[in-house]
Amino acid sequence: MEILYYVLLSMVTLIVIGSIFRNRVARGIGYIVLAVIPLHSMIIGGPWDFISSMLAILAAIVGLASSMYTNSYEELKYGGGHLHILIDVFAVAVYTTFTAMDIITFIVCWLIAEIIGFFAIVYEVERKTLTAGLRYIVVSMIPSDIALMTLLTSLSMKVGFVEALFTSINEVGNLLVGLPPILYIMMMLGFIAKAAVIPLHFWLPDAHSLAPAPASAILSGVMVKIGVYGVFRILPSVDMMYILITFLFFGAITGVYGGLLALAQNDIKRILAYSTIEHTGLIVTELMVYRLTNLLIPLEAALAIVCSHALYKSALFLNSGSIEIYSHTREISRLGYLAREIPSEALSALISILSLIGVPPTIGFIAKLFLLVASIYYLIIDPILGTILIVLISFAITLAAIYSIKYATAYWGTWRGGIESKKIGMDLEILKKKLTMWEYIPALLGIVGTPPITIAIITILGHEIVRLELALPLFLSTIIFLAFTYYMYIRLKAASRDVQWLGGALP
């Protein structure tokens, strides 16, 4: 199985070298192989366990989409530059963090990913981005570094200084048993700071909305999952009820908070950023429920949210980048009826939004289904906390539906600018071929990938066997979904209302 790891390392090298020489083919092959290796490990068996492999595959997919998207994005937005190197190294660093097998590799890759993340956030040098970068360092980087140091230190108190560096990452949960509670709190706080959960959440909206779009896609799609991954690794050792319940409610409150603030935003990227906060909150909640109840279904829920969120959020962030390139603005009050101008973008956004709302048979639906089922299980076990939790979670889910509609108004809503604007001379074919195409990778995977992801989560975690009668409703809902999407697509081309505005910046 060692050979897999060497193949992985050589692919990582290939991507970085390909990035330096601007070679698309090498990078594309690299990412695809990077996605296949953990898949191989998942199906046939390999050095990684299910969680690592799953997150790694997601990182590779999001990395592929963002990396290819960057090629044209940097041309169209900045007129060249070296953004693609930053994006590639970033994606690869996140990927290797998930595939790290010992603590030292994990920490090295984590730190590199963090540093690259900072440079991605401040890529557009402005006062705003620098403030966001500063906040990122203080609220996200420092706490998570404290968490990493504490993790390493706690390990070395158990197994010795050098041995701690080479501890296998799968054993961390068992080794850390019986530490003083303050160390657990430090670790948990640090890791959830990376996932932007209350109380260390406020760095994320600025950072994710001000970074270039492909960087945001990686930051939001997979980077925040590093924190979740960290929490997952130390979780088996935490056995203080009060810590778990505290973080359970931090997560649930984050869900509602993120949803509410997403409603109040005017910038499409900020909507998405707050939506990320909401989802990580829900993921952390489910992980805590998993630890509290020892049932498998909350873990499945958490994993399903991780998968679905990574796919649709990266697709939507790339989509917001395209909107920005096309219309030169991100403010929702100045956008509307873009669907008439850029229908292919609109379709990609539609698929992702439906997944975000949770319409069957998208992966978002599966995630929400698991989430609700898990909450009901918890309700049975602990009626009081369960009631509060289920109320918060349902509220968060509803809010998700509302703000996704708000995002959709960029394509289908009324344009409230009020002034006649002029058409910009942009070749739509370029936009379609070079940018939109890559949004479809994560967006379509959110639909096509639903059965395999669901089956993988259910069977590999050993919850129950898949039954055939489940396939029929799934098949039916797929047909309804396709019909609905097709209808929307036709309608938006022949929208009855006639508007003068044809997209582009305000005069």
């Binding site: 090295v108 970068g133 360092i137 404290i146 230190t153 108190m157 050098v162 430090m186």
Partner: protein
């Protein structure tokens, strides 16, 4: 074990320094002076390496000057703590002398710079190796006086003179305080030898040294040693923390480091501040160790632990101060000076782990962490001074903004600078990460969570400043395209230091550097280790009269 090389190093350096002006009568060729310094540096490195290898074998190396038995004559005593720092000092000196081949082409008056650097090194090595507290004062004076002169080296610059005056004025007062402290000790203990003082302060019976310095009954030797110790520790720590640049005494440091010539700045940031740190460690660990006269209770905790607690808090203050002020600097050498202050803070923060209520294991780990961080910081900070100082020299300005985009013009040296900055930041394959990990570990074991978290927070804050430099070097396009300067030698020097750091980090993981360092640290801090230190000096007389020296 008596080793003659220990005594030879300061003598050689002092002689070499004092005869340098004579050479100006014959030649003013800059290559001559560079080669001269390089030869001296290689010899010093060999000698200190030999000393270090004897220390690593488990000996405590002693050299009595002039054959006088310990409390009467000056003794040089080297254990692991100062052996490591002495080797570090000679490595830095070698680095500087290689750099001088390039740097002397850019300035005039290099013969005097050579003299002053040699004298500075005399002071540094003398302070580190000496086993006599009055000799420590003398060497500190040599170090300080040559530093004043080095800071004012560019005497046409108004700011250089001002920096030198502000440094010299307070520095003279601080060293005088040290002299007062030494006088109190001499008046009460009747001896100046560190081992002898340590023995008397900890009530350890001696065989030969008390023949000369007398016996103690309880607290009374020649005077009341308890009182004298308290007063002298206050006075001495003032001078030592002044030299280290710890918080209330840090105001002179940025302007002095900034105005000094680049090689001198590299030495200042590399080793001169470590001399102050070493002095505090020697006083608190060997002379007044955890079973000493200073263990009486004040405010519920023992006086020694109170001092360590205060030092740790001051370390936190200077760490935060240095890292915060560093962010807004425009001058690149000032930036590095504040970075040095924050790292001095980091060196002092773990001092809480040296308190007597922790086990020897924790104390040894703390000491190992402090020493390792000293090494890491000295190597990379001096490399950064050389690298960024070179860029400042060729751009003719020390402003950070004027160096923007130099990453594309001079890729090798900027790569080295980036690696050095990442090392100071504590990125993982670099030893900087492991040194912070080493400091973090005993803090957690000692339940000093505030200190532990502060270490990471300070690194995090300083990340902003380091990222800014990296960003400015690489991302913008060069402002004014000028002719390319030849900086082959500094580039090679810096990149090789960066590679050495990388190799150090990797070997750290593979070989058991940590356990080795903790093992030697335990030899220094344990009560047996202190006793061994005292006995190694005590037995010199017997060796001398039995004839031979070996």
């Amino acid at each position: 074990m008596i080793l003659h090389e220990v005594g030879l190093i300061p003598i050689l350096l002092a002689l070499a320094g004092f005869i340098t002006p004579i050479f100006t009568l014959f030649t003013r060729n800059r290559y001559f002076y560079s080669t001269y310094m390089l030869v001296i540096a290689v010899i010093v490195l060999l000698f200190s390496y030999k000393t270090m290898s004897a220390v690593v074998e488990g000996h405590i190396v002693v050299y009595p000057f002039g054959g006088w038995p310990p409390p009467l004559g000056i003794t040089y005593t080297v254990d692991f703590m100062n052996g490591v720092l002495g080797l570090l000092a000679s490595v830095l000196f070698l680095k500087i002398s290689i750099y001088s081949f390039w740097y002397y082409g850019k300035i005039t008056g290099y013969e005097w710079l050579t003299t002053l650097i040699l004298l500075l090194m005399t002071g540094v090595i003398g302070c580190l190796y000496t086993g006599d507290i009055f000799n420590f004062f003398v060497m500190l004076e040599i170090l300080c006086v040559s530093s004043y002169a080095l800071v004012a080296f560019f005497k046409k610059r108004r700011w250089a003179i001002e920096a030198s005056i502000s440094y010299a004025f307070i520095g003279a007062i601080a060293t005088t305080f040290f002299l007062f402290g030494v006088s109190f000790i001499y008046a009460a203990y009747g001896t100046l030898n560190m081992a002898d003082i340590a023995a008397k302060a900890q009530n350890i019976p001696l065989t030969t040294m008390n023949l000369w310095s007398g016996l103690c009954i309880d607290d009374i030797c020649f005077g009341n040693i308890a009182l004298a110790s308290v007063v002298s520790i206050a006075l001495m720590l003032w001078a030592l923390t002044f030299e280290a640049g710890l918080f209330p005494n840090n105001y002179w440091l940025p302007s002095a480091y900034t105005e000094a010539p680049t090689p001198a700045s590299a030495l200042f940031a590399g080793i001169v501040d470590k001399v102050g740190t070493y002095g505090v460690l020697r006083v608190m660990l060997t002379i007044f160790s955890s079973s000493s006269i200073l263990m009486f209770k004040v405010l519920g905790i023992s006086f020694r632990d109170l001092v360590l607690l205060i030092l740790s808090i001051l370390g936190m203050v200077s760490g935060y101060l240095g890292s915060l002020v560093m962010i807004i600097q425009r001058d690149v050498k000032r930036f590095l000076s504040y970075s040095t202050i924050s790292h001095i803070g980091l060196l002092f923060i773990p001092f809480i782990g040296l308190s007597s209520n922790y086990s020897e294991e924790v104390i040894a780990k703390t000491l190992a962490a402090i020493l390792f961080h000293s090494i890491v910081h000295a190597l990379s900070e001096s490399m950064l001074f050389i690298g960024l100082g070179t860029l400042a020299t060729i751009s003719g300005s020390r402003k950070i903004d004027d160096m923007s985009g130099y990453g594309r013009l001079y890729p090798i040296i900027t790569l080295a600078i980036t690696l050095g900055l990442l090392n100071l930041l504590g990125l993982a394959p670099f030893p900087g990460f492991f040194s912070k990990y080493m400091m973090f570990l005993p803090m957690i074991e000692a339940s000093a969570y505030l200190q532990a978290i502060s270490i990471v927070i300070i690194s995090g804050i300083s990340a902003v400043g380091y990222f800014r430099i990296i960003y400015l070097l690489f991302l913008p396009k060069p402002k004014n395209i000028q002719e390319k300067h030849r900086i082959v030698l500094p580039s090679i020097l810096c990149i090789s230091v960066a590679l050495i750091l990388l190799i150090l980090g990797i070997t750290y993981m593979i070989y058991g550097v940590y356990d080795t360092m903790v093992g030697y640290g335990k030899m220094v801090v344990s009560s047996d280790g202190v006793r061994e230190y005292i006995m190694a000096v005590d037995i010199v007389y017997m060796k001398l009269i039995s004839g031979g020296g070996k």
